[in-house]
């Protein structure tokens, strides 16, 4: 768990429509030494990605309202912003073949160690 010092923290876009879960996600991002950017909907997340170029990682919940919204976002990101890393959390079983390349899905409830380790890995 070697931690390298970076001058500017990695920007991680957290996409979550549940405010309480958003709190936990921000904590994971910050514990991983990154800086969280918040989006409470897929549309907002797309808007941010279209306007900002410093987002290295998108950390999104797949269980948002509209059920498949999170997955559609993930697919859209891989399509439009291929370099961006994807960390996803889900309460449902997922089909590995549908997960965009390099994407990591982690289950709920949270396994803090794995989540923080993954975000940290992508931030390097």
């Amino acid at each position: 768990m070697a931690q390298s010092k970076v001058p500017a923290p990695t920007q991680v876009l957290c996409v979550e429509d549940d405010p309480i879960l958003m709190l936990a996600m921000i904590e994971f991002v910050e514990n991983a030494g990154c800086e969280a950017v918040e989006a409470t909907s897929v549309a907002e997340a797309i808007g941010i990605l279209e306007t900002r170029t410093d987002i290295r990682t998108v950390f999104t919940d797949l269980d948002m309202r509209g059920s498949t919204a999170g997955m559609r976002l993930a697919v859209a990101i891989r399509d439009r912003w291929p370099p961006i890393e994807l960390v996803m959390i889900s309460s449902q079983p997922w089909d590995a073949s549908q997960i965009p390349a390099r994407g990591v899905v982690l289950g709920k409830p949270f396994d803090r160690r794995k989540i923080e380790a993954t975000i940290r890995r992508f931030a390097v």
Partner: protein, 828 residues
């Protein structure tokens, strides 16, 4: 006076000899007349007589000059001539002779006075009478010696005449007997020939016998056979004077026929008037003078009586009686023959009737061989009515036809199998489908004489079909139980329906709206048939919605005839549909789906077939409902799992945020991980809808949170455990692994944990779980009461608190026990 008559007169031997000539009371004959003429002239007397002396009279065969043809013996002089067989009796003056002085013919008219008689002596010396000459005046000189000698000579001439006459008479009588015997034999022979030739009924035979007997015995004027029937005699074949009595029934009582039946012997009734067996008052009515009766016997019993009768008495004699017995014998034969024939006819009729009424079809056949003697075909020689009914080919097309002609392509297999029966002589039982009509037949083929064989069989299509339907339903039940998707179930149902009913297409379709359209799922089709899967509008196919709207089956036997489909028949036929059934599947009173069966040929859908289809539809409906319920349950389970896990994430988040101010982060993380361990147990449980979990899966899922699974040696029988046990086991293993990671075996690179479990049988079966750490640093028992983790460990499995913890220097050794009944889930 009578004392003067010599005793010789009544000598039986003499009278018998006289009878032998049968001369008394016969008409005059020239031979005798000539002799008395000569005697008169010879002796110059006015009277000459051939006088025959019987027992109580004398009778004159020839006479001259005497008015009477006979006299009593008191008036007889000749009687005295008997006493001197060798000499001529000469009485010169009858008034002077004591033997004749008182003779009425002497004392009164015609006052005879002179008598000379030469005895009529047979060769045996019997004197029958005399040739005598009589004068009305005494002749003191009697006869001259020459006259006397000549008179004796004439007397011998009389005897010669008598002998000659008797010889002729005997010859004629003999001839008459012979003629009569010949006639009788003729009649008997003709009768027997008639009986043999007659194939008619019994009465015809009896008629021949009666008429034959009457011809043999011309004296008979009436004839009848009286057949015994119970206690009555019935007049059969009555002819002649008895013809009017045909059919008469008389009680077997007080009659000659009755006597004949009872005695079993022929009976000659010479004179009805004095017969002991005839009722006197009937004699006149019956015009009965005499009769002959002969019993008709069979073995020791008597069947009846053959009777001939005449209005005259003494019309029959013993010969007639014997002859009649022969005819009675012929009657016995005729009755036996008639009975035998009747029995044969009855049996023939019986068997023929049985044959005709038989439910089983029967055919009589003969194999056809080629030049090499191999059986190549067979010909049907005879069939019964059931055959034509069951096979459906009229008898006139079948009898005499060959199998290959009648049955075409399917003939060879039958020719082979029937041929085998003829060759081996072993009967063959078969249950086989007959391709030309598709029906099933069960029967037996058996060899008869030579190249002929019989086949008897029954149409068992209904039974076979019924068995096939039952088997199909069982098979469907099995398939439905194992299938998990609606599409698989409906397709399985369609295939079973199609195959079982021998249809060309079967499918399942969801009905849209108010039976407006049907969306047919991938259907089953017979080879060569196209699928009709897809959406079809009912109104495009005729006026066929009504029955389905009411929840009743749409059944069309022939689209070209059914008024609902005839207008759109071409459209139906375009889909290769000539007959169809849509069996509705109902849900809450609405038709929501249909089971569809098509046939390329018109067919009559039987009640049994429709019931079968209804049954399949119902079963599929139940199966579909079960799958739907399971699918819904699965959705609910996933939804619940999803919400639970999301909620646990929120709980983690709340805890983390709430404890943000706590600088010691370890308890927060410990809390988070316990929630995680709990959730892992839920994941495993969800795979079995929260009814059970596999023990090993629960363990692996929790342990993998802490370390790679290769750090653990997991060994024990995989059990289905209850949800409570899964949660308890998860939390226990989580705490043990956490501790091992912190202080125990897992904290060192080479350390390992061996987890083993077993069940112990006994009055209370127990699960025993061992946790043994190896290769870690030396451990010691934690001081104090410890935290929540230690408490969880001490509570053991299922809160039993049966936890033996041993802090060995080489590593923790722990044993946990819990009642198996609380851990295990009985698999149902």
């Amino acid at each position: 006076m009578s004392s003067t008559i010599p005793p010789l007169v009544t000598d039986p031997a003499r009278l018998s000899a006289l009878d032998g000539y049968a001369i008394l009371d016969t008409p005059a004959e020239p031979g005798f007349d000539d002799i008395v003429q000569l005697a008169c002239r010879l002796c110059a007397t006015p009277v000459a007589l051939v006088s025959l002396v019987a027992g109580e009279r004398q009778w004159f065969k020839a006479r001259v000059g005497f008015p009477h043809c006979e006299t009593d013996l008191n008036s007889s002089v000749c009687a005295h001539a008997l006493a001197q067989p060798d000499d001529v009796l000469i009485i010169p003056d009858l008034t002077l002779d004591p033997r004749t002085a008182e003779n009425p013919l002497v004392t009164g008219e015609p006052f005879i006075r002179f008598y000379a008689g030469a005895p009529l002596r047979t060769a045996a010396g019997m004197v029958l009478g005399s040739l005598c000459v009589i004068d009305s005046v005494p002749r003191p000189d009697g006869l001259s010696e020459i006259q006397a000698s000549d008179l004796q000579a004439l007397a011998r001439q009389v005897m010669s005449q008598l002998e000659l006459r008797r010889a002729v008479m005997d010859r004629d009588a003999q001839r008459a007997v012979e003629a009569r015997a010949f006639h009788s034999r003729d009649a008997l022979r003709d009768t027997q020939a008639a009986l043999t030739a007659t194939t008619g009924d019994l009465d015809t035979l009896l008629q021949a016998i009666v008429s034959g007997a009457m011809r043999a015995m011309p004296a008979a004027e009436g004839g009848v056979i009286e057949l015994l029937d119970g206690t009555e005699l019935e007049y059969r074949a009555a002819q002649g004077s008895l013809a009017a009595r045909l059919g008469l029934r008389v009680p077997l009582f007080a009659s000659a026929a009755c006597h004949c039946v009872m005695s079993g012997a022929p009976y000659l009734m010479t004179d009805a008037g004095s017969d002991p067996f005839v009722k006197r008052d009937l004699v006149a009515t019956l015009q009965l003078g005499s009769a002959v009766l002969a019993p008709i016997r069979r073995g020791t019993s008597v069947l009846g009586v053959l009777k001939l009768q005449s209005p005259r008495s003494c019309a029959f004699d013993a010969r007639d009686l014997a002859l009649l017995d022969l005819f009675a014998g012929a009657a016995t034969a005729a009755l036996a023959e008639a009975a035998a024939q009747a029995e044969i006819r009855a049996q023939d009729t019986y068997w023929r009737g049985l044959f005709d009424r038989l439910n089983e079809a029967f055919q009589l056949n003969e194999v056809i061989r080629d030049d090499a003697g191999e059986i190549t075909d067979f010909r049907i020689l005879e069939i019964n009515p059931a055959w034509a009914r069951q096979i459906g080919i009229p008898a006139n097309q079948v009898v005499g036809a060959t199998a290959s002609h009648l049955f075409g392509d399917v003939a060879p297999e039958w020719i082979t199998d029937f041929g085998q029966v003829v060759e081996t002589g072993e009967a063959w039982r078969f249950t086989r489908q007959f391709a030309p009509n598709g029906n099933w037949y069960e029967g037996t083929a058996f060899k008869l004489d030579g190249d002929r064989f019989g086949v008897i069989f029954l149409d068992v299509t209904a039974r076979i079909s019924s068995e096939a339907r039952r088997t199909a339903l069982l098979s469907l039940g099995d398939q439905l139980r194992d299938l998990t998707t609606i599409a698989d179930m409906t397709h399985a149902g369609a295939e079973i329906v199609g195959r079982t009913l021998g249809a060309t297409r079967a499918g399942y379709g969801r009905v849209e709206g108010d039976v407006e359209a049907v969306i047919i799922e991938p259907d089953w089709t017979a080879p060569g048939q196209a699928s009709v899967a897809g959406r079809h509008r009912y109104d495009d196919f005729g006026n066929i919605r009504a029955s389905l709207l009411q929840g009743e089956a749409l059944v069309v036997n022939d689209v070209t005839c059914d008024p609902r489909t005839v207008a759109d028949a071409a459209r139906w036929l375009g889909f290769d549909i000539a007959a169809l059934v849509h069996m509705p599947v109902r849900e809450r009173g609405r038709t929501v789906a249909v089971f569809i069966v098509h046939d390329v040929k018109p067919r009559v859908w039987t009640t049994e077939e429709l019931a079968f289809l209804r049954n399949v539809a119902d079963r599929v409906e139940v199966g579909v409902a079960r799958v739907r319920a399971e699918e819904l349950q699965t959705v609910l389970n996933y939804e619940l799992a999803h919400r639970l896990k999301n909620t646990l994430a929120i709980v983690q988040s709340i805890a983390s945020s709430t404890l943000r101010g706590v600088t010691e982060r370890e308890p927060v993380e410990a809390f988070e991980r316990r929630v995680l361990a709990l959730s892992r147990a839920h994941d495993v449980l969800m795979q079995k809808s929260w009814t059970a979990a596999r023990m090993r899966a629960v363990m692996e899922s929790v342990l993998t949170m802490q370390a790679d699974l290769d750090r653990f040696a997991i060994d024990g029988p995989d059990l289905d455990i209850s949800p409570q046990a899964a949660l308890s086991l998860s939390l226990l293993l989580h705490e043990l692994a956490t501790n091992a990671l912190k202080y125990g075996a897992l904290s060192a690179g080479a350390g390992k944990v061996r987890i083993a479990w077993r069940t112990e049988e006994g009055s209370a079966p127990t699960l025993v779980l061992d946790w043994n750490e190896l290769g870690g640093p030396a451990v010691a028992a934690p001081s104090g009461r410890g935290g929540f983790g230690s408490k969880l460990i001490r509570m053991g499995l299922m809160g039993t608190r049966v936890a033996n913890l041993s802090y060995d220097p080489i590593g923790l050794r722990a044993e946990f026990r819990a009642p198996l009944a609380e851990i295990q889930v009985q698999v149902h």
